[in-house]
């Protein structure tokens, strides 16, 4: 799979691709190859910034139907060439990069809204539909998809599901994996299949959840049915300042284990608190800042808010009122635009993980220690917030930053990967996982065996059975090349 097409092989594949999708929907132009060679992973962005050419796909193809996808996968099996599904290209883990060339399959022409079931509160659409446009379509019926990732305007429905993505309101509404009901998938060998019509059943293991999180390594997601939710009549925010992070984490634990269901709860560590409070309130504050939101019927919101105030007061939190939270909500995407979003020339990474409440403080401290101690020569710094809360634990959205990384791209790449390896290994050692909602991609693939241990054999066996020639997104999720 790592060998590249040569000589007339390229023209043979090109002519067959044109036969499948038409000449307008295949490109071998350098401008298109370059566009689809860079996603939101730091490495290719840095590579181009330093004047080096990234790895290019041989072909960029825009199929318009699952049947065209199927034919392309059959062609790829004939020639043993890689196929890399591409949605919005906004992933941060390198999951859509053409590591070994091949066919990049841009799925955005599969963008049809198929059905909004107003009785069952579900929506069915093709996988290439844009996240914001899907939300607008559902809004017309008085509903919301309820999935608000930072990438909502950039990403696609399929792109939410492929890496088990998450949105701002996941604490109440769940991650994409919790919202999905069924999928249409084109298997690597070309069969077009559907998972069972409902996500909950006693009809064997979940085929649905096998494909959710498969990051294009087990097939191409071409359609999904998602749960939708009513647009709430009331949406309200409150924010608090705790004396330290430990008290904030304890408040979050008490709220969640009391089975209160805030739509959002974001708790910032001491480093982030200084920046965040300055940004939203314009004041200097120390401690641990929490913004929490509630939605639904007004009476429910009143009750949840009262209970949360009670819990936070017992932990001596300062009540900062409602304005800051609403301001954050209304400007929640602003932080993701340049220059406010972390960008080159800095080196940065979000090493998010999740673990139980029993482990979380040790997890946070261990990761902070490894970043700030081992990489002190590079003045690496660490900051975190806790923003996806479960009944049993919480996700830490932690980031490392080096303001002045090595100029040499090769040295920069090695440093970047070493930091990632250290941070991810600390996550595993403290009862966490390699990643909570950005996925694995190429970035973390090499650690999958360490994460899964002996269970990895079962994962690889599934991959080999479904994708015997290893054509699907090779080099991702840690699967062996064929």
């Amino acid at each position: 799979m790592t060998s590249r097409l040569t000589s007339y092989q390229l023209d043979m594949v090109l002519s067959e691709l044109v036969d499948i999708v038409g000449v307008e929907d295949v490109s071998t132009a350098k401008a298109d190859q370059l566009t689809y060679a860079v996603d939101h992973y730091w490495i290719p962005e840095m590579w181009v910034d330093r004047g080096l050419e990234p790895v290019l796909p041989d072909f960029v193809v825009h199929p318009k139907s699952p049947e065209e996808v199927s034919k392309i996968l059959q062609l790829a099996n004939t020639y043993r060439i890689p196929v890399i599904p591409w949605g919005g290209g906004s992933g941060s883990q390198g999951g859509a990069l053409p590591l070994f060339g091949g066919i990049t399959l841009d799925l955005k022409k599969l963008d049809r809204l198929i059905e909004v079931d107003e009785r069952s509160f579900t929506v069915t659409a093709q996988a290439g539909i844009n996240g914001q446009q899907l939300e607008w379509e559902v809004n017309k019926k008085g509903m919301t998809v309820g999935h608000y990732p930072a990438s909502q305007r950039a990403s696609t429905l399929g792109g939410w599901l492929a890496p088990r993505g998450s949105g701002t309101l996941s604490t109440k509404y769940g991650k994409a994996e919790d919202m999905v009901m069924s999928l249409q998938v084109v298997l690597p060998t070309g069969e077009i299949i559907r998972t069972l019509p409902t996500p909950n059943h006693a009809t064997g293991p979940s085929l649905l959840q096998l494909f959710v999180g498969s990051e294009g390594t087990l097939g191409v997601i071409t359609e999904a049915t998602m749960r939708a939710d009513p647009i709430p009549e009331e949406r309200r925010f409150r924010s608090f300042l705790f004396s330290d992070l430990a008290k904030g984490l304890e408040a979050g634990r008490r709220i969640m284990t009391a089975r209160i269901r805030p739509m959002v709860m974001r708790l910032y560590d001491e480093t982030s608190t200084v920046k965040q409070v300055k940004r939203v309130l314009g004041i200097t504050a120390e401690g641990s800042y929490m913004v929490i939101g509630f939605d639904g019927f007004k009476e429910f919101v009143d009750l949840e808010e009262a209970k949360v105030i009670e819990i936070c007061s017992a932990l001596e939190a300062q009540d900062l009122g409602s304005e800051a939270g609403m301001k954050w909500w209304n400007h929640r995407y602003d932080f993701y635009f340049p220059p406010r979003i972390k960008s080159l020339p800095r080196m940065y990474g979000t090493t998010d993980t999740v673990c139980t409440y029993s482990q979380i403080e040790r997890m946070y401290q261990s990761k902070k220690d490894v970043i700030e101690t081992k990489y002190s020569d590079w003045q690496a710094y660490y900051m975190a917030h806790f923003s996806h809360w479960y009944p049993w634990g919480v996700m830490v959205y932690d980031e490392f930053v080096i303001d002045q990384p090595p100029e040499d791209p090769h040295q920069a790449l090695r440093l970047h990967n070493q930091i990632w390896a250290d941070a991810a290994r600390v996550s595993i050692a403290n009862g966490g996982v390699l990643n909570e909602h950005h996925g694995i991609g190429v970035k973390l693939g090499f650690l999958m065996k360490e994460q899964y241990g002996p269970a990895w054999k079962a994962m690889q066996a599934i991959k080999d059975a479904i994708d015997p020639n290893g054509i699907m997104n090779p080099g991702k999720l840690g699967f062996a090349l064929r």
């Binding site: 132009a29 401008a31 566009t35 181009v48 290209g89 995407y333 602003d334 635009f337 960008s343």
Partner: protein
Amino acid sequence: MGNNKFQETIKACSSCLMCRHACTVGNVTMCDTNLPRGKALLLLALQKGFLDWDERAVEVVYQCTNCHVCREWCPPGWDIAPLMLAARTEVVEAGLSPVEALQIKQNFESHGNPYGEVHTQIDDLIKYLPISDSPEVLYYAGSTVSHRRPEIAKAAVSIFEHCGTTITMLEDEPDCGEMLYVLGFRSEAKKCASWTLEAIRSSGASIVVSSDPTCIETFRHGYRAWGIDVPDDLRFLHMSEFLYNALASGKLNLAGAVDGIVTYHDPCSLGREMKVFDAPRQVLSAIPGLKLKEMRLNREHSPCCGNGGGVPATFPEIAYGAGANAGAVIQETGADILVTSCPSCQQSLRKHVPGMVVMDLTEIVAQALPRF
């Protein structure tokens, strides 16, 4: 491409995808190369030396409707369109212009307008204008009204007459040159600008009114940005602004009813570029019998009709697709009448809103004038 602002824009847009949902061309081609991010990456790759001006690279920089809708969804306001226009000048200098762009340039050279048209009904209109030694207003039709939507000029003349405003129009009216500029032919565009300003000056009027917002935007902002001196005593008003002023001063009496539900489409150059959003809405609201229903996307976020940036000439299928996307948003309103304030928008959108009456603001106001 050398200036700092452009370099900062390339850096910002090449690492950001947050306007994908709104990109006029990206929503037609569904290709990431057409997004501001793809365009910025393309310019970066050209600078870094691993891309040359090949056929596709040239295509991409000409596949931008210059609509600026991406900028309006971007809180910091990064704007890729000016970089596309600058890149086109490089393409022109390299002798790689698309044949359709060269055809338009040739049309200008042979006939003085982008359409290559010889005759216009505007000439007949001018013949019957009352002669005034000191006209208050020069009504500048612009090439699209002159050669594609002369009804708008006729409606405008009737409105001026109703308001008691003395006007003049230009025989052999020179084009404002905007089309040449956006296609990368900057020296030719500047020649047009000189001729047009000279003609305007010789008209004797100090207020120029046009129903074409692209012309007004070019007069107000474009010429100075091109390095052309524009006399300070000249005022340029879009027809919607003239109508709003006439309404406010009591000169315009909209007593004639037009029944129906109307929705209003903000043209890119009038809305996003000149921030004229309220004047046309105020005028529409003053027409008895009309009920204004806003689109889901309006004002700064109004969908582009596709007829900008020279795209209808160079990539008509993209312009058509953009018009269809805009038409779908318009039709969601269920309105009976679509009003816009730009002849190019009207040209595009009338193909995409079956069952709706499509009018320019000037036309619907003329229809609402009292009948005696």
